[in-house]
Amino acid sequence: MYLEDTIAAISTPAGEGGIGVIRISGSASLSILKAVFKRKYDGGFQSHRFYYGDIVSPQTTTTIDEALAVYMQAPRSFTREDVVEIQCHSGTLIIQQVLAVILLCGARLADPGEFTRRAFLNGRIDLLQAEAIIDMIRAKTDTAVAVARQQSDGSLSAALFKVRDLIRRALALVEAYVDFPEDDMVAKDADCLRQQINDSLSIISDLVATFDEGRVIREGVSVLIAGKPNVGKSSLLNTLLKEKRAIVTAIPGTTRDLIEEVVNIDGLPVKLLDTAGICTSEDTVEREGIALALGRIASADLVLYVLDASRSFDADDQFVAESIKQSKIIIVLNKSDLASEIRLPSSLLSYPAIAISTLSLTGIEQLKHQIALTFLHGKAVDSRELILLSKSRHRDTLLRVKILLSDFIEHCAIPLPDELLALDLRDALDVLGQVTGETTPDDILNLIFEQFCVGK
């Protein structure tokens, strides 16, 4: 569209990369930045200066990531509008969470090619690029249409259309009260109205809950293998990969670089990262590897914390535990075929722990199952369905519809007059229209004439 609202999107390629950039463009850019970005040192934002701080959710006040942010005042920006760019960690979950917070603060997810289009319409880039933008919009929307079509008989899209129809019916009811005050229709049934919208809300909540699962299926998750040297991290990697990828020796500190492999666990694409053993090493090369490993912890979706079950819990193990305490963790007790010596400190007892042996291969299936469970919450996975909702656009849409419908329920309770209630429902249908297609005033009138004998 050609609307002058504020848009946001992840502008670096999906998936890999240590750093991701989120771009925001439009008049509300700066106010959104102020809402989600807490500078380490207080002060305002000058144009074209980098600032260091935390991304904080205004709703929950929890810190999501540390980031760099730059504000570019119009017209000295790519779109010639006020632009904010935020550089954060690009672990697949993190950057999505940062975007979600920005969208909740009032930005709309940008349409395909919209930044470039705005840049063009504001005279920022030359005419020769116009055709290229058109092609990009077409290609992206064609893909989206193809996906939607492929899904059109699925139960997910059926659920979305059910939500739309419930809201449409509710709106038709409200509009009938407003536009036919002289007809002797059934009295206004507020309970029925509220019920229809509550039904929609619960469908939306269920759908949003499947989002994270859907996303991990499409994009995969990153799982970091961490532990002190020589506890069997590389053996675990090889076992999960079923091939010798990492060099395994009995000399502690063999793995100095990061090793990444993608493996399929219960239908879930998992990017495994093997790291150098973490300890207080004197070796400069090894120390570089350790630093690298520590740097990747924050962006991993899950950490497999490997311990040697045949040895007692020591200071190095404790150092590792300290480094990963912000992460999602599964404790892996390797060498459990040997006599068990380890006793976990009480601070670690709340995490799931799996005893395995990379030699006898015991416990490996159990571990895989636990990894899948972490992301899929044990639900049966129909990947065909999940793919659709895995798109951020759909999630963003549903969350915005959810807010509007919750407003509606609140406004019913006051109660606000019908024409204001209609506003909430109308806005919800407009937002939902991005997924299900638009609802025109005629669609609502049709519903009124179908349901009610009105007019004279």
């Binding site: 050609y2 609202d5 289009r117 509009e175 036919f180 019908d418 004279k456």
Partner: protein
């Protein structure tokens, strides 16, 4: 043809509700104007219900009045019952409605026309347009006279090839008792216009001497009646009630027994009828579970025994009509004075118009009212006013007037019509307006009075009165914003009444009025000086303060759409040359020819992606 030796600026063909507004507007703007009608005794005749206004229609009447049109003043001079609908809902959807004395309404409008300078009124049937190189230059009449005019406005109502149906009997007529217009729509077709067919209907007129009113429930109007026009001081006609009656199961049996002789169900009627104005046979067939249908028995005037049973229109045969109306309680002995009938007529799909109401094909030719597929006196009058204004502006070589969707229901209506066309009679509903909260009856003057004055349609006196009101509103809003209520200056009882007992800090009167349970009248209890302004000002201030948050939300939306609404698409724009559009979208755009990007976005099937592509293509083609 005998050429008439007077040259007109504007010729209006048809003197119904559209034609009267068009002719008055043109003449008041100083144009030499000719109003032609098949029957001068039927000027401004209410062919169907004897009422003006109603939901969304009342809004249009107020807009016409604010712009300097006649409809509001005419109903105020002849109204015999007034009601404001939706009083318990918010101000945006409150709507005025009034019963009219049908004959007084017609005669009063005729007198206004006769007293208007620059305006000639003649009885004649137009059969042909005089066209010279795609530009209209006059009209030919059945009696062989050619009138020359720089612009022509067609307001033909239901007259073009009008065909009246009563049961399986049908005959040509423009309205019961009037001749149809026979040649004009053929001429339009020859000129390349696409002509379609619509249908509408009206109930029987009943003899009040044969109705037992003691068994019906009377419905009285508001006391005091609230006028339509911003210029009307008070309503002086005697006010009379309507009566509520109900059909019953036996009535519905009678309807069903006659369906085999219904021209609608026998497939004789091909025109498409209005869904929101269904005939009683439609209601009975479509909602078989309903045991009864309500009707308001409305008086046709103060000095007549004729009554109009609303909601009971039908095209069933006369014997079924006799039995049906007499099956209703209180109407057992009723005599029908005029039978109910359906009428089919020709219209020209309004997608063939520019947003100014000038046709795309023929320069200086304007269409307004039912010829554009609308129904309703108010919808017709709104278009007639705009067509009259634009024809006059055209003659003067000035820029055309286009009301935006956020300025007026008239703007919403015309934009809907010319953007999407219509295949069934179009009626206004408030739900058609996306900026409904901005388009209220109460602020029609604030929206449009200034415009009407600049056009020369609003008198100096009316304008001065408006300016005074506008200033008073601003002053009062400022006062509310600045004046603080100090808890120490108010009695404890009042503090308790307003739930202010606990507060430490002072609160402004604006903040107080924002509370859902506080009215403007309450403020006067706290500070008498708030009662020093007129009721109209008090009402406006209250609405503006209470609605502010929502109004701001809509204004924000208007702002966001502004760029799109302002992005003009040339009529000759070549959609085939844009590579990114799908075949379906290209076909829609070629068919509907939107004049702005905003219009394009409202065409069903034109996706946001297509609009995005179009916006780039427009900039490329126009600037490149």
């Amino acid at each position: 043809m005998i050429a008439y030796d007077k040259q007109y600026d504007v010729i209006v063909t048809g003197a119904g509700h559209a034609g009267c507004e068009a002719a008055l507007a043109a003449a008041r703007m100083g144009c030499t104007t000719l109003l032609l009608t098949i029957n001068i005794d039927a000027v401004a005749l209410m062919s169907c219900n004897p009422a003006i206004g109603g939901q969304a229609k009342g809004h249009i009447v107020r807009e016409i009045d604010a712009l300097g049109g006649e409809m509001g003043k005419n109903i105020d001079a002849t109204g015999i019952q007034y009601r404001v609908l939706n009083m318990r809902k918010g101000p945006a959807v409150r709507a005025s409605r009034a019963q009219a004395d049908k004959q007084l309404y017609r005669l009063r409008m005729k007198a206004v026309l006769e007293n208007q300078a620059h305006l000639d009124i003649k009885q004649a049937e137009v059969i042909r347009l005089v066209i010279d190189r795609d530009e209209v230059s006059g009209v030919d009449t059945k009696a062989g006279v050619r009138f020359y005019g720089k612009t022509v406005i067609l307001t033909t109502g239901t007259f073009m090839k009008g065909l009246i149906h009563i049961g399986l009997i049908n005959y040509p007529g423009g309205r019961a008792g009037d001749l149809p217009s026979d040649g004009l729509s053929d001429n339009l077709r020859d000129l390349g216009f696409e002509i379609g067919r619509l249908k509408t209907g009206t109930p029987a007129r009943l003899d009040g001497r044969t109705i037992d009113f003691t068994r019906l429930e009377p419905q009285f109007g508001d006391n005091p009646p609230k006028p339509f026009s911003f210029s009307t001081v008070s309503i002086t006609r005697p006010q009379v009630p309507c009566y509520i009656a109900y059909t019953n199961r036996r009535s519905h049996e009678i309807i069903r027994s006659g369906l085999d002789r219904s021209p609608l169900y026998a497939g004789i009627i091909e025109g498409i009828g209005p869904r929101y104005c269904p005939s009683i046979e439609d209601k009975v067939v479509r909602f078989p579970e309903k045991d009864r249908h309500q009707t308001f028995i409305e008086p046709e005037g103060l000095n007549t025994v004729e009554y109009y049973p609303s909601g009971l229109s039908t095209s069933l045969p006369i014997d079924v009509q006799w039995a049906f109306y007499r099956s209703i309680e209180g109407l057992e002995k009723v005599e029908i004075m005029r039978p109910a009938y359906a009428i089919e007529y020709d219209y020209a799909d309004p997608v063939q118009l520019q947003v100014t109401l000038e046709t795309i094909k023929i320069r200086n030719l304007y269409h307004a009212g039912q010829i554009n597929g609308t129904s309703g006196y108010e919808e017709a009058a709104g278009q007639g006013l705009i067509a009259g204004i634009n024809a006059a502006l055209k003659v003067k070589g000035k820029e055309q007037l286009v009301l935006a969707r956020n300025e007026a229901y008239i703007g919403v209506m015309i934009d809907d019509l010319v953007t999407m066309g219509t295949k069934e009679p179009y009626r206004m509903f408030t739900s058609r307006a996306e900026y409904r909260l901005l388009l209220r009856e109460d602020n029609a003057d604030l929206r449009l009075r200034e415009m009407g004055y600049r056009l020369g349609l609003v008198s100096q006196d009316d304008y001065q009165q408006f300016v005074t009101k506008r200033i008073a509103i601003d002053v009062q809003l400022e006062k509310l914003h600045k004046t603080k209520l100090l808890p120490s200056e108010v009695t404890p009882e009042l503090l308790k009444d307003f739930d202010l007992s606990g507060i430490q800090n002072s609160i402004t009167f604006e903040q107080l009025l924002k509370r859902p349970d506080v009215t403007y009248a309450d403020l006067k209890r706290l500070d008498q000086s708030f009662g020093d302004v007129s009721i109209a000002v008090q009402e406006q201030v209250e609405i503006q303060v209470k609605y502010k948050g929502y109004v701001d939300r809509q204004l924000e939306q208007v702002k966001r759409m502004a760029k799109m609404e302002g992005a003009r698409i040339p009529l000759s724009f070549d959609y085939a040359s844009i590579s990114g559009l799908t075949a379906e979208v290209r076909e829609k755009l070629t068919q509907f020819r939107p004049t702005t990007l905003g219009q394009a976005s409202r065409i069903p099937g034109v996706t946001p992606a297509a609009v995005a592509i179009l916006s780039i293509a427009l900039k490329t083609k126009i600037e490149g």
